[in-house]
Subunit: 236 residues, 2 copies
Amino acid sequence: MNEKFLYKQVYKDLKNSILSGQYKTGSKLPSESELCECYHTTRATIRQAFSELIKEGFIYKQHGKGTFVKSEMRSLGLLSFKGFSEVVGEEHQAKTTILQVPVYKQFPSDFFYKLSAEEKELGCIYFARLRFADDVPVMLEYTYLPNNELFKPFDEQDIKDSFFKTLHTKFEVEITGLAQSIRAIECEKSVAKALKMKHKSPVLYINRRYATNKANLHIYSTLYCNTDKYAMSHNF
Amino acid sequence: MNEKFLYKQVYKDLKNSILSGQYKTGSKLPSESELCECYHTTRATIRQAFSELIKEGFIYKQHGKGTFVKSEMRSLGLLSFKGFSEVVGEEHQAKTTILQVPVYKQFPSDFFYKLSAEEKELGCIYFARLRFADDVPVMLEYTYLPNNELFKPFDEQDIKDSFFKTLHTKFEVEITGLAQSIRAIECEKSVAKALKMKHKSPVLYINRRYATNKANLHIYSTLYCNTDKYAMSHNF
DNA sequence: GGCAATAACTTGTATATACAAGTTGTGTTT
DNA sequence: AAACACAACTTGTATATACAAGTTATTGCC
């Protein structure tokens, strides 16, 4: 399984070594020149591999000192995009129930984002979850995963914990970006029921499109949030 | 105001040219080799400047074609930055009216963020604007600027255009980060009136704290958004 | 005119090298 | 022992060059 480009190979090797625990959190990676000798290449190539890993949050550099493995935050780091575990996170009790186990189906015809021909063709893995903070339902989440070979097999276990962690550990998919649109709407009956709100209460309605480290692989989700008690927060 | 490093200079020049509209949305930047000649340097240096701009979302590349100015949100997905005049930008008519011209006053006692002693001491420059898309009011924005020497003099002109552009060009303040909390709430009468909505309609209620390139300088704003017609969008 | 080969562009990957600048440890001096 | 100077590391910036690979315009043929 050789990569086409040397810098990709270096990137992959290092990433695997980090994921397998060979380089532990906080530990120092070999210096650029050491890696140059290993791979019989030059610093520019090594630095290119490094910069990919930095972009994905695996490592960081310190001028004059070296390159180090980032704390475990990275796996959850992009979860902060999600907001849920951030707001809910440490101080509050977080819980998730699965309303719809993963099933294969077509993308909805009125899907919120214009899909590529390939995405339409292949369909999606769809599941729904309800998230609680301190035993209060705060977020209703519908997720659409492209029906890619990459994600097979896919089952209920994969979404019991953090789905993003599963993406990272099981499928080696890293979230690299997010585009979202946010509205405040009056919630419909079904949403109200799930979130234990009054019909027509204001809820956040969010459509998201996650970009990943795999070209042309995007993950979609629609959220309804009860923000009476907990606000949705972001940091960038 | 020369930058220490050549790639930073190139980066800054390009960024200024983009922000000033010299390179318009979607237009092609000079090729790497053209810029090499301009700056009497090599592609590696130009590419480094480009990669910073890519990271910040100002530009994107296409193999074999060229480098282009991104149309969507730049930098940190700040709607009020690229947001208003540019998300709404080309397709829609954007307009802004000033409800409250900049005045010096104390921070409100029930301010949404816990301020530092220094910030409290100095007070703030406060102003309010109402923003329109296609002549429909969509966003009510209250801004709190620390009463820093840096911002003097400060007047109405500074917020007529994009305030973030003013920050960049007049005060050399760059936005480097954002923390925000978002809620969906029923709008109160005053907000409803400004946004021409019915009382108790759902609106987005957003509190923001912008980090800047100046240490300990933060900018705050509170937004009310009518998302009936236009959603709030982010890209990171 | 229509079509295909090709030339002239673009960005992508790669090597080789040099010096600057920040950090750390090793000495030597005091 | 403490202070300082310096060497030996690290990453940061920079130049010069080459070829690969994708895109577009041009050329020349039919």
